[in-house]
């Protein structure tokens, strides 16, 4: 078995929890957007977007539906190219890279798509192990790692099912398992709770939090659900109890911060407290 690392470690017995990496100015950012703009059919969608995602940091991108959040996420892994500006991922300027070179870079990025985007003709095992299959990893190892990833998302026993046999929430959990199976350095979540009921949404958010607090993977999460964003900012995942718990009063997760888009522009880039105390009328209306 190749992977027994932090992301899928069993809660019992517990090894000492590694300290979460603190963002520092000295660390090279994982993602850098430098004055990025993109439009479709002459219509600007994103204009002059600049922000960074640092090592171990979770950035939550908020904004109304249709504002360009998913477009921004697709720019991060090079599925779309900007009309202007520069995008750096792991220090490489992906906006200037050839598509062939991007495939290798994407190996270090896990992506959870809005509707899961599972391959409907492949089983859960083959969906999760897709990248491993492409790398010609042995069948036994793929099975072992897929089982491990499924255990992480509490979906054991679904290995041989097809996506059509799973509920919406289960499909989303398989998508998370597929994104984390190769231990990526960066995970992109595109509205992971979109269209799900509140209980299933909380389960998904708990998994996102588990990935953030257990493996300290840098991530960019897109959502228009403010309640999901605040759960992530004000809770942490306790490995001892294997569930999320609220942080002490008046404290927020230091590695979680916010971005907000409005009419194609970035109108907020800051911490949870700064978001809550913002005087901007749009932000106040959005979070109220």
């Amino acid at each position: 078995m190749a992977t027994t690392g932090a992301p899928f470690a069993q809660p019992q017995p517990r090894p000492p929890q590694p300290p979460p990496p603190q963002p520092s100015a000295a660390q090279e950012p994982i993602v850098v957007f430098d004055d990025v703009s993109i439009g479709f059919e002459q219509k600007p969608v994103l204009e002059n977007i600049s922000f960074q995602v640092r090592q171990g940091e979770m950035r939550i991108l908020l904004g109304p539906a249709g504002v360009g959040k998913s477009v921004l996420l697709k720019l991060v892994n090079g599925l779309l190219r900007p009309d202007s500006g520069r995008i750096f991922v792991f220090g490489k300027e992906i906006s200037a890279m050839r598509e062939e070179d991007l495939f290798e870079l994407r190996g270090a990025i896990g992506t959870v798509f809005q509707e899961g985007a599972l391959f409907d003709s492949l089983t859960v095992r083959d969906n999760i192990g897709y990248r491993l299959l492409e790398e010609h990893v042995s069948d036994d190892e793929i099975t072992a790692r897929a089982e491990e990833a499924l255990r992480f998302v509490d979906l054991e026993g679904t290995m041989d099912k097809f996506p059509s046999q799973l509920s919406g929430g289960m499909r989303r959990r398989v998508a998370i398992a597929r994104a984390i199976v190769t231990n990526p350095k960066l995970i992109l979540y595109d509205s992971p709770t979109g269209g799900l009921d509140p209980i299933t949404s909380t389960t998904i958010i708990e998994l996102v939090m588990k990935q953030r607090d257990v493996s300290h993977t840098s991530s960019l999460l897109v959502t228009h659900r403010i309640q999901d964003a605040f759960i992530l900012a004000m809770h942490h995942f306790n490995r001892a109890t294997n569930q999320m718990e609220p942080l002490p009063a008046h404290t927020t997760d230091p590695n979680t911060s916010f971005l907000m888009l409005h009419q194609g522009r970035l109108v907020f880039d800051g911490t949870t407290k700064e978001l809550v105390h913002s005087q901007d009328s749009f932000i106040r209306e959005y979070i109220s």
Binding site: K74, N77, L79, E99, E100, F103, E104, R106, G107, I109, T111, F113, Q114, E115, A117, L118, F119, D120, Y130, R131, E134, R178
Partner: protein
């Protein structure tokens, strides 16, 4: 206003040709680049080749039969009914075999490719594939092109053979012709140029079917309605291109071989 519409339509047309050329070139370039996706090529060969076998055999047999039926009565007016076999084999090998087989395979597979890839586009499976580090042109398009070209080549040979047999069946059992004479005139009149022409065409037709099917699949927009539109366009355009290309290849080869 009308000029603007013409202008926009022309730009869309030029853009589509450019995108089609780029997709075809990149997919062809991938034939020589690793990974080769051998298993995917074999799987597609099975779906496209073996899967199309029943319709190719059936259409080939009845086309040969109807050719014999129609031509025998005309030839009989000139006392040339004995040349029925020659006419059937000429027509099947040079023209009807490649074109009809390609149209059949196009109807079955170009539509299948467009709908399959189109569904993958609208459900973000293609984006997921790219995000997982796999080139969809290499994984999905290249195997379909290789498999269609190779399998159509053999399907046309089968169709030609079955068509000649179908013609023989009608000539002997329904028109009372001599079986030996039918098959003798069928193959004896054939020359290298005829067989060459019949075997070159499926290579071009296979390329057209796969690239058009994949092109419309990969440019699908607009949900399930878009998938339906892509499927229709793939069949329509591959059929038109097959017939237009058939004319051009025939013209060129007749120019070269003189027959």
């Amino acid at each position: 206003m009308a000029l603007e519409t013409i202008d926009a339509a022309a730009k869309r047309g030029v853009l589509a040709v450019q995108e089609y050329a780029l997709l075809s070139a990149r997919a062809l370039g991938n034939v020589f680049r690793r990974p080769f996706y051998r298993n995917d090529i074999f799987m597609q060969a099975d779906i496209i080749g073996v899967g199309s076998l029943p319709i190719v055999i059936l259409t080939g047999f009845f086309l040969g039969g109807v050719l014999a039926l129609q031509s025998a009565s005309t030839l009989a007016q000139f006392g040339a009914a004995a040349f029925t076999g020659q006419l059937v084999s000429f027509s099947m090998i040079k023209e009807i075999g490649p074109v009809v087989t390609a149209l059949m395979v196009s109807g079955r597979n170009a539509s299948g490719m467009a709908s399959e890839l189109g569904s993958m586009i609208v459900t973000e499976q293609i984006d997921a594939m790219r995000a997982l580090g796999t080139d969809p042109l290499k994984k999905l398009v290249m195997p379909r092109i290789v498999a269609t070209i190779v399998m159509l080549f053999f399907l046309v040979i089968i169709s030609d053979a079955v068509g000649i047999c179908g013609g023989g069946f009608v000539s002997v059992l329904m028109l009372g012709q001599d079986i030996s004479q039918y098959f003798h005139t069928s193959y004896q009149s054939l020359e290298f140029a005829d067989v060459f022409q019949g075997l070159v065409k499926p290579i071009f037709f296979g390329f057209i079917i796969a690239t058009i099917g994949c092109f419309y699949g990969m440019k699908t927009r607009g949900g399930t309605q878009g998938v339906g539109r892509s499927t229709t366009q793939a069949v329509v355009w591959s059929s038109i291109l097959i017939i237009a290309t058939d004319f051009m290849i025939s013209r060129v080869l007749i120019g070269i071989f003189g027959r």
